[in-house]
Subunit: 353 residues, 4 copies
Amino acid sequence: MSGASFASDNHAGVHPDVMAAIVEANVGPAPAYGEDPWTARAEGLLRREFGADAGVFIVFNGTGANVVGLQAMMRPFEAVVCASTAHINVDECGAPERFLGSKLIDVATPDGKLTPDLVEQAVWGVGDQHHVQARVVSITQSTEMGTVYTVEEIRVLADLAHGLGMLLHLDGARIANAAVSLGVGLGELAREGDVDVLSFGATKNGALAAEAVVVLRSELAVSAPYVRKQSMQLASKMRYASAQFVALLEDGLWRRNAAHANAMATRLAAGVREEPGVRLGLPVQANGLFPMLDPDVTARIQERYPFYVWDEGTGQVRWMTSWATSVEDVDGFVAHVREVTAAGPSSAPTMAE
Amino acid sequence: MSGASFASDNHAGVHPDVMAAIVEANVGPAPAYGEDPWTARAEGLLRREFGADAGVFIVFNGTGANVVGLQAMMRPFEAVVCASTAHINVDECGAPERFLGSKLIDVATPDGKLTPDLVEQAVWGVGDQHHVQARVVSITQSTEMGTVYTVEEIRVLADLAHGLGMLLHLDGARIANAAVSLGVGLGELAREGDVDVLSFGATKNGALAAEAVVVLRSELAVSAPYVRKQSMQLASKMRYASAQFVALLEDGLWRRNAAHANAMATRLAAGVREEPGVRLGLPVQANGLFPMLDPDVTARIQERYPFYVWDEGTGQVRWMTSWATSVEDVDGFVAHVREVTAAGPSSAPTMAE
Amino acid sequence: MSGASFASDNHAGVHPDVMAAIVEANVGPAPAYGEDPWTARAEGLLRREFGADAGVFIVFNGTGANVVGLQAMMRPFEAVVCASTAHINVDECGAPERFLGSKLIDVATPDGKLTPDLVEQAVWGVGDQHHVQARVVSITQSTEMGTVYTVEEIRVLADLAHGLGMLLHLDGARIANAAVSLGVGLGELAREGDVDVLSFGATKNGALAAEAVVVLRSELAVSAPYVRKQSMQLASKMRYASAQFVALLEDGLWRRNAAHANAMATRLAAGVREEPGVRLGLPVQANGLFPMLDPDVTARIQERYPFYVWDEGTGQVRWMTSWATSVEDVDGFVAHVREVTAAGPSSAPTMAE
Amino acid sequence: MSGASFASDNHAGVHPDVMAAIVEANVGPAPAYGEDPWTARAEGLLRREFGADAGVFIVFNGTGANVVGLQAMMRPFEAVVCASTAHINVDECGAPERFLGSKLIDVATPDGKLTPDLVEQAVWGVGDQHHVQARVVSITQSTEMGTVYTVEEIRVLADLAHGLGMLLHLDGARIANAAVSLGVGLGELAREGDVDVLSFGATKNGALAAEAVVVLRSELAVSAPYVRKQSMQLASKMRYASAQFVALLEDGLWRRNAAHANAMATRLAAGVREEPGVRLGLPVQANGLFPMLDPDVTARIQERYPFYVWDEGTGQVRWMTSWATSVEDVDGFVAHVREVTAAGPSSAPTMAE
């Protein structure tokens, strides 16, 4: 593939500073499974962000982080309340059901965000042995629809959850984008939101393959090392994953990468907002746009730029930006979109394309 | 950590050529989840080794490779026959039982190797609904005890398994060391051994984090993509894992790395064989030694070099070499061992150490 | 508890003929686990109904029958499409997710019945490794809302499923009531509907504790004995469960019991249909009514008769009849309902009740 | 089948008093799922035996009781230490691995009984994330080899387990036989043995299908209702299972049944002890004998009486007695054994039989 991609922020490569850190870690032998100095440093940096008593567990990928974190929070007869659009619900090939043994109670939302009302409606049958017992509210920050919860919104959900004897899980595959969007730190977001366990995504933020389970309620961390290993998410040469976190966290690269990605999304939104045939719909709060397009417009843009149709029924598509998206990439894409939409409805039959 | 380590072949770093391939893959965007050109190349190279119709599925780590491969072979009421010392039995924190839902029928062996007799004794209750149904024989090549099955030995086990309506799985975390030891190719080992599914380990061979499930019986490959994803073993930025395979497979680096590791083990064995207090025991056929030592000898060697005690009861320890072990490392270690053993039994009480 | 219950058809006792059959089976020793003559007879009778090549597996309860049957049909990365109101979705404490390891894709319906359109909307992401693969359409007959699929409706769903490479599962906890309602035989319903696997419920039909998994596609039956045993659903003294099937199937008692239960529901519907404050809503096609009531009406009826509120939001309640419901029970209940509704809205605050 | 069976104590029928209790429970409607008066009585009687704060959960069968009880005690990365001959290890088709997700660490024993030494050798890798964490010691009382732990032996194992941060589980499929053998009450055995969770088997003691999970450590009981339901072990018409416990527990029928079964085993042992070719081996402490026989002797006895060969390698067979075994049954069997053994080695080739 040549040229820019707006298909996914994991189509981007590895940030040069992250790659440099990986290369620098490649000196001589080091103990495996996290007993190395890079992991000690990475864990220290994660604790600097999230709190000195946070449990931090580095894993391979986002599905792994979610499933390990949720396992630490619940037993199989307990259930997770999540948005229908949640990654755990639609993009993990059923890994949560398979490895938690638990039901996901998914809730339709207009914008990917749970609300207290939606959660309350989903929690029923409490104490009824015939019904799964809702135990975890899982939110995604930023959401799979490009929206961002405020810290206050998270806090309200956490208070609701805790009041119901439940816990709050946060899938932070794009937590960096959300934190930047809100102008808060990672730990501020997590602690003021009173999150119990979160997945901290580094891969989309510029890493090669590195995510972390962050456990903010210390009693939940006790079993996490075993859960991680049993869940096949413990790297032998962990120093290389840890080095990625060091590079991102040591001097704020995570923030610069996320800020750039968000800025590119904003620039893209500004560039296409006025175009006929592009209905932006949801606010652009992080690094993704979810516009509605006519199918033939979609098809003609895809001739040059790959991206995903998010909902075939409505014509909604997804455009993602990343740390690697350049101003030129955005401007080129905007120009192409304008060209396509200016041409008006295709005169050729859609099928021919 | 400075200095050489004989504790594990995953204490070694990443081979420079593998690291170079990772860095080279870091150019611009690329489709995720294996739709990139590096993955196409890696899969092509794996098929060049294992056969054009082999199913190849790149995963993160060895536990993942074993559990994904075994899932493709069996249902939960079926069982795996393996050696008691098998990695799947003792070093994966119960991941096989957890994710297969299956029993492992483990068999004591003198040298980490299953034999037809041992397998036959373990297979009983066939057709009895009260008893798990033995479905897979799983062997490790080279074994966790540093021994190597001949291709003929593998073939005999495969024939036995197939005759019983079972399948043969090979945990090849160190398959490169075994192939070099036997003087055969990877595919020759697998195909002439009539293996059904194997885990091909690249990490210990010089990679950063890359393993592959190789499915040699094509009907078993159909579900593997879903099993891999659901098992949290599908990398988003897969090009970097694939680049590691490209580096190892394209011009035989895998063989050179394994040959070097094996040679270092042989050199180490030669260096300590005559020492009083070092009983080598098992033949050194790959890249590991499992000598018996007195506890105080062990303790004094460990003062300078870290390694694992394999069996506290017998005093057996494990010394591993890798692609990164140098002649100087070996000679320094041998000199230290000689010094320790020449000193005779410690005059100080063992407890004091 | 004294007096009639309209709360559930499993509040009824055991039909005297079924109890007599249990007592008659209690003569001397008999082989365990189904090797006894009663089981041979029961299996023969089940095959007389469902076809000579049907696989029949007697189990303890309805959840067990559903989970064993579904396990025989699918692998963990595959999914079940079902109505949101399905017993497997809301009343089995997550047993399907736990033991299949699979996602249930639940679909809202107006009347508990799936339609081809609803199924087609739920099946997406086919061939996409990130998404669970829809494998089974599961319907309940009669439904949890008291409605009944026609044989033609089942056949259309089966054809759709098979055309999509899927299978049709039928939860027949109340299949007898449905068959009587449709005026067809059990096997006619199953075979003309082209069902692949069904749960045949005897318990609600007058048994003590007996259900059967009926596998109509023979290749799916191979693993069922092991799945049943591993799923903790194999009775040791199976003759007593089998005797229950013998009593129900030998001379049509199942049909008489279901016909009576249905008739009582019809009588009850006729008795209350004209009452102000009782909105029957869904048609009464089997042995249950799901009327809408004002909460204070509900509360006042419940003072004398226990029953469940089905939906607190809408005021929908559930009234079930069974083989044991007498004409006097119905008439007494109708009289009580009339009395309550004739009294008009409660003058006392609802909270006070 | 006509005539006596020594094949299994679950070949026996239901004790007449138990059957009478089932029939008596069949009066009118009753709430389902244990909200009925019979269940209240059964639970009260179980608590009378095991202690007022015991959690008691009635289930369908022994595998269900074991798996539900163990689920309440452990998480998937934890392991069970048990004898190789344990029912959970060999006769439950892998249900424990499947539903606990856990490894069973099985230990060879001479007589089916674990000892502190055997347990200590099986518990290793504590705190090592690569290794399953031994959490439960599971013993069977009386054992699958017909032997009985003294209360003191149980207490020593419990103390050891608790000292290691582990729990003690007791599979009491034949706990009644053991209690009678020891001359102690059920609760005395459990409480003085400091057992944490046990399976109380009623089926082999004269019931139709009824077992109970008894939780003696109250914090483990919290999740048990959900675990039971999710594990498909909650009966809808529970009154009939409960009535069985009422019959057995109310006036000591359980004890009379077990005492009779044990006496019949003792009589059988006395009758054959002196016969040439019958080597009794293990002491007869409950209701089973495990003699060693020549294969042709086995074959000739089996011509008239069915029983199982327990170990084809050694010629060990199993003869079980039950509440239903009569003195005449035993004497007839003894006479037949004597006749066969008196005849000396078969002159006909074994194959011909």
